[in-house]
């Protein structure tokens, strides 16, 4: 199971990458994709939507079940990954390459309170 050290994480299995322009890119972890099994459908948010931290923002559906994805921090959705929506299995292939959406956080410092790689690994151990 891979947990890159340069990313932040949530207990609800999202990964977060802080970009140079102060936005964040969000996906689901390798642990999550493995637990879900074959992913067959993604429901992604529209750009422009304002979200609160912890708000249900997307849905990842495996053959087995639907799982909600939550906004790691408050902010505005600025993009969704249509390539991933068109090829949901790409999340199984490389969960860190197949991002789901990007958010411009209301306060970038909110990201600091998320888990680091070691903290996330402890949370799923």
């Amino acid at each position: 199971m891979s947990t890159p050290a340069d990313l932040k994480y949530t207990k609800s299995h999202e990964w977060v990458r802080v970009e140079a322009d102060g936005t964040i890119t969000v996906g689901i972890t390798d642990h999550a994709q493995n637990a879900l099994g074959d992913i067959v459908f993604l429901e992604l948010p529209e750009a422009g939507r304002s979200v609160a931290a912890g708000e249900e923002i997307a849905v990842v559906e495996s053959v087995k079940a639907a799982s909600d994805i939550y906004a790691p921090v408050a902010g505005e959705v600025i993009a969704a990954n249509q390539d991933a929506a068109d090829a949901p299995e790409s999340v199984n292939t490389d969960a860190y390459a197949a991002w789901l959406f990007k958010i411009k956080p209301t306060n970038i410092a909110d990201v600091d309170s998320l888990l680091d790689a070691a903290g996330y690994e402890d949370s799923v151990a």
């Binding site: 099994g37 053959v63 639907a66």
Partner: protein, 360 residues
């Protein structure tokens, strides 16, 4: 503590992921449910279904007993080895279980029932036997037996390669027919919509047989693939598509109920006094999304509900069974409520897929 089949160590060795199913710890997949699904549609896969229970029904009263117990008619079984799918009903018409009954002689039948319902099924059979057939019927649960379902277009030839001598015993079998081969009952039945065999055999032999099938090129498949295969094949799952609160006529199972005159069976009077108000239909989602069980269905005739739903790997679409008001017909467009959005679905005739071909 969940129960384990005799093949549990083999599943562990094959890196299975497990799920609780009817009180049994069963493999849901061995890596990829989608690949296992495809394997069965295109080649051959094998399922451990030893959680299901064979029940032998024997004695001079066996035929009369089963004629009364089952909604389908065992009088249709004339050739030894022939099998029949049937519901076992409560007096009010609700479904206690669905099962397959094999006929070997007028005093020798075998029934295979579902895992989660096995104990209540045996108790019900014994109660009915005691009430109406006294000492003329023996009901014998066979937990000493295990079951492997080898399914797929190449399953039969692989079984023949794995079990020397089995071809002569089983190549003449028609669908829904079984033959005895030593200690193994070879049944040309399944729950996938593909050709294949179900092998009922002593638990002491099941691991060796499983390994022989693996050596002949049959890979294991889990209950996840079994569920998408059966859904595509238009086959009901007990507890999900029908249960004690709904009858066979509202569950797409009218074809399994023999209402021809002159036979009194448990539940008959209830079925005949209450015409069905609802029907189980197939749905194909036209919009993007995945249908699941217990979603609200909106039709011109009123509301209904999905009972089983999934992504259908053979169709690259989402499908479901839905119980809807009578009058909804094939070709109609209905709406399904998925997380608050009403999405369009097409009403179709099931099965969705049979023998590797998409039919809808």
């Amino acid at each position: 503590m969940p129960k384990q089949t005799p093949l549990y160590p083999a599943h562990l060795a094959a890196n299975a992921k497990f799920v609780d199913f009817g009180g049994w710890d069963m493999p849901i997949h061995y890596g990829s449910q989608l690949e296992e699904h495809k394997l069965v549609r295109e080649d051959a896969g094998m399922f451990d279904v030893s959680h299901m229970l064979p029940v032998d029904v024997s004695g001079a009263g066996a035929f009369d007993f089963l004629s009364h117990l089952l909604a389908n008619n065992v009088a249709k079984l004339k050739e030894p080895g022939k099998a029949l799918y049937s519901c076992m009903l409560k007096p009010d018409g609700g479904v206690i279980d669905d099962l397959i009954v094999y006929y070997f002689a007028q005093d020798d039948y075998r029934i295979v029932v579902n895992a989660g319902t096995a104990d209540k099924d045996v108790a019900w059979m014994r109660k009915q036997a005691a009430a109406t057939h006294g000492g003329n019927v023996s009901i014998t649960p066979r937990r000493d037996l295990a079951i492997i379902a080898a399914q797929g277009p190449n399953a039969r030839t692989r079984v023949w390669a794995a079990l020397p001598g089995s071809q002569a015993a089983s190549e003449g079998l028609k669908y829904f027919q079984a033959a005895r081969f030593g200690d193994i009952t070879i049944c040309r039945t399944g729950y996938t919509g593909e050709d294949g065999f179900e092998l009922i055999l002593p638990a002491t032999q099941v691991t060796a047989t499983w390994n022989a099938l693996a050596a002949a090129g049959v890979k294991p498949a889990g209950l996840g693939a079994r569920d998408t295969l059966r859904l595509e094949a238009g086959m009901n799952l007990y507890g999900q598509d029908m249960d004690e609160d709904v009858g066979p006529l509202e569950s797409g199972l009218a074809w399994t109920v023999d209402l021809s005159p002159g036979r009194d069976f448990i539940g008959r009077a209830a079925l005949e006094s209450a015409p069905p108000q609802r029907a189980l239909v197939g749905l194909v989602l036209a919009d993007r999304g995945i249908l699941r069980s217990h979603m609200k269905v909106v039709t011109a005739q009123g509301e209904g509900e999905t009972t089983s739903g999934s992504f259908a790997p053979s169709m690259n679409a989402s499908i479901a069974f839905a119980r809807v008001p009578a009058g909804v017909t094939v070709g109609d467009t209905v709406q399904v409520d998925i997380r608050g959005k009403l999405l369009n679905a097409r009403v179709v005739k099931t099965p969705f897929v049979r023998h590797g071909k998409v039919l809808v």
